[in-house]
């Protein structure tokens, strides 16, 4: 009887003690929210994003600036309204201090607008790369340590004009802000050289059967530039192959990503030798980069054959947050002003080169022009053919002139 009472008391005491520990721990831990896509067409990218955050946090032992980190994950399905709901949940219910995400172009625009209504928190972009997010009316507490979709295409237009000799190109691309951004990045060089984009076919996001879009590609095009999101491009490549079309392809950044190259299917044989460009390339011949790949393979044996671009995007974002927190010794007081000042001035040495921010808190970074190649073990990778160093958001043009040309859209730019 007595022992039972004692045990009961001990239990209550234990629970209370545990409770008080967890409460005090909550007040000193830094809470970081991760927003990526584990639903919808970008699931493979979302898995990579959470792997990236996990690896970055583990490297730091879940500590930054002397404080422990609590990591709270949320999933969107790639649609702006869903991303917004999940971001609000993270900020308002889970009370995170810093939010890392989102994944996709349209989502980024929504989160940037939301950031303006939560000025005491800090938002660090994950992988979304629509140009407007940071170019037009940026939010003071929204940081993007990755290049945008137009930057990703730096060097590609010149490369296919000069080296491949293409003059007339048709475009088949996703009908959303990231698609417009990539096409603008490609066209700004290609059209300046004198190349013509003779037809632009915009396909709704989530299209699975592209055969009628393929039927519209004009015969006189020397090559076809394609850019679809996530899993959609695999369908396009298969249907393009089966349709018997012969024109060579130019790949938008998402199409040459490991989330596509690692997928299994007969479309793979079509890919070798196709040009693309991105902020990272798995063929980078550099000791730091190879070390990063080795770490990824060791940590995620069931992952891809090498880390994807979304992995890199979220990895750089998480590393930036950790570096910023270390610089201010975990001090998020004063509505995080010190932390944000530190973020703005960061110069990060990342596996694919140095990253710094411009006055709109948008990354300036290296871009890699690549061609798909087959590794000795049979897997596909992006072989680097050219590095374009320190590409900024206005692609080296004066800011006023660049902004005056307007945000990318279905009809902007145009050079038929």
């Amino acid at each position: 009887m007595l022992s039972r009472k004692l045990r009961c008391l001990a239990l209550v005491a234990g629970i209370t003690a545990g409770f008080s520990i967890s409460v005090s721990a909550q007040s000193t831990n830094i809470r970081i929210g991760g927003l990526a896509t584990l639903d919808g067409p970008f699931v493979a990218l979302g898995q990579e994003a959470f792997r990236a955050m996990e690896m970055a946090f583990e490297e730091a032992n879940y500590t930054a600036g002397g404080r422990k980190i609590d990591w709270i994950k949320e999933s969107s399905d790639g649609r702006p309204d869903v991303a917004l709901t999940k971001a609000r949940k993270l900020i308002e219910q889970d009370k995170v201090d810093i939010l890392i995400g989102p994944m996709s172009g349209g989502e980024g625009l929504a989160i940037k607008e939301y950031a303006k209504t939560a000025p005491t928190k800090t938002f660090v972009n994950g992988f979304s790369a629509a140009q407007e997010t940071t170019l037009v009316s940026p939010a003071a507490n929204f940081f993007r340590f990755g290049a945008d979709g137009a930057q990703w295409q730096a060097g590609l237009g010149n490369y296919v004009y000069d080296t491949k000799g293409y003059r007339n190109v048709a475009v088949v691309a996703g009908d959303y802000s990231f698609g417009y951004t990539q096409v603008l990045g490609f066209m700004s060089e290609f059209c300046a050289k004198g190349g013509k984009v003779i037809e632009k076919i915009w396909v709704p996001n989530g299209t699975k059967d592209f055969s009628s879009a393929i039927a519209r590609i004009p015969n006189k095009a020397d090559a076809v530039y394609i850019m679809m999101g996530g899993a959609d491009s695999i369908n396009f490549l298969t249907q393009y192959d089966q349709s018997g079309a012969k024109q060579p392809l130019i790949l938008g950044s998402n199409v040459s990503d490991q989330t596509v190259l690692s997928a299994k299917g007969p479309f793979q044989r079509r890919l070798v030798g196709l040009p693309s460009a991105h902020m990272v390339a798995d063929g980078i011949e550099d000791a730091v980069y190879k070390d990063y790949v080795a770490k990824y393979k060791k940590r995620f044996p069931d992952g891809l054959s090498s880390p994807s671009a979304p992995f890199y995007g979220y990895y750089v974002a998480t590393k930036a947050v950790l570096a910023g927190l270390n610089q201010v010794a975990g001090d998020l007081s004063g509505d995080q002003a010190k932390f944000r000042a530190a973020l703005s001035k960061l110069r990060l040495d990342m596996p694919a080169g140095q990253v710094s921010l411009d006055e709109n808190r948008q990354a300036i970074a290296n871009i890699y022009v690549t061609e798909v190649a087959r590794a000795p073990d049979g897997s596909l990778y992006n072989k680097v053919v050219k590095v374009i160093p320190n590409v900024n958001q206005t692609l080296g043009q004066p800011r006023e002139a660049f902004v005056a040309r307007g945000v990318p859209s279905r009809d902007n730019p145009s050079c038929p």
Partner: protein
Amino acid sequence: MKLLLLASLNGITLAALYFIVASGFTLIFGMMRVVNLAHGSLYLIGAYLGHDVAALSGSFPLALAGGALGAALVGMAIHYFLLDRYQGDDLRQALVTIGLSIIAADLLLARYGGLSYQFELPEMFYGSMPMPIVGGYPIFRIVLIGLAIAVYLALWLLVQRTRFGIMIRAGVDDRHMLGAIGVNVPLISTLVFGLGAALVGFAGVVGSSALSIAPGEDARYLLSSLVVVIVGGMGSLPGAAIGALLIGLAEQIGLAYFPTYSIILSFVIMVAVLAWRPYGLLGRPA
């Protein structure tokens, strides 16, 4: 002219795929009035199991059989253990199957990951065949039409011309009377549910050969089946065929001529049909 012809061909072949998926749905939902919102999950399960079989055996016909059989077993288990006891209680069945589809999606994501899968088709089905006017057309998409017609004929014969078909139709009209004359009604319904699930598992393998399979396809095919069955009329096999043709053609012709708005076209058709014939094109009041 060439574009219109190509877009129509694409529409018809896409309709063939939609029909095979929706035929299982019209059997389960239209005829038996079992609300199964996990239909898309059965599509995914069939496709992934078929992929496993193909990886082990290297045979495409075996993959088709494996996908159909696997989905049928899962479907029968769902019906036997979860849905049969709520026969006639639509809301409960809807909630149970929505819950199931969420669980299935996460389990499949954990097992197969987020990457897309495709089947290696037998060499004779891959590539394109010569054709007048359009030049060439993918062989497998022509095969799709043949498969859809075969499924249609087989189902029609089964439902209209066999003893089993008579029992299905009798069970739809009066379940209790059928039981009173000595027929094991729960067994019949579980078998029909299994047949519907087998069809959608089969469609999963066919669909992921023509297109590809990845997480999220479940919701897509559930939606397309719902639209096809609603437009065509609940429980009507010819209705499902007509509905599939309308939706497939609308999607592809829309994609060819006004891609920006192609996505809403199928819903415009649905609204128009519902306004004009509330039970669908070939449906009749329950």
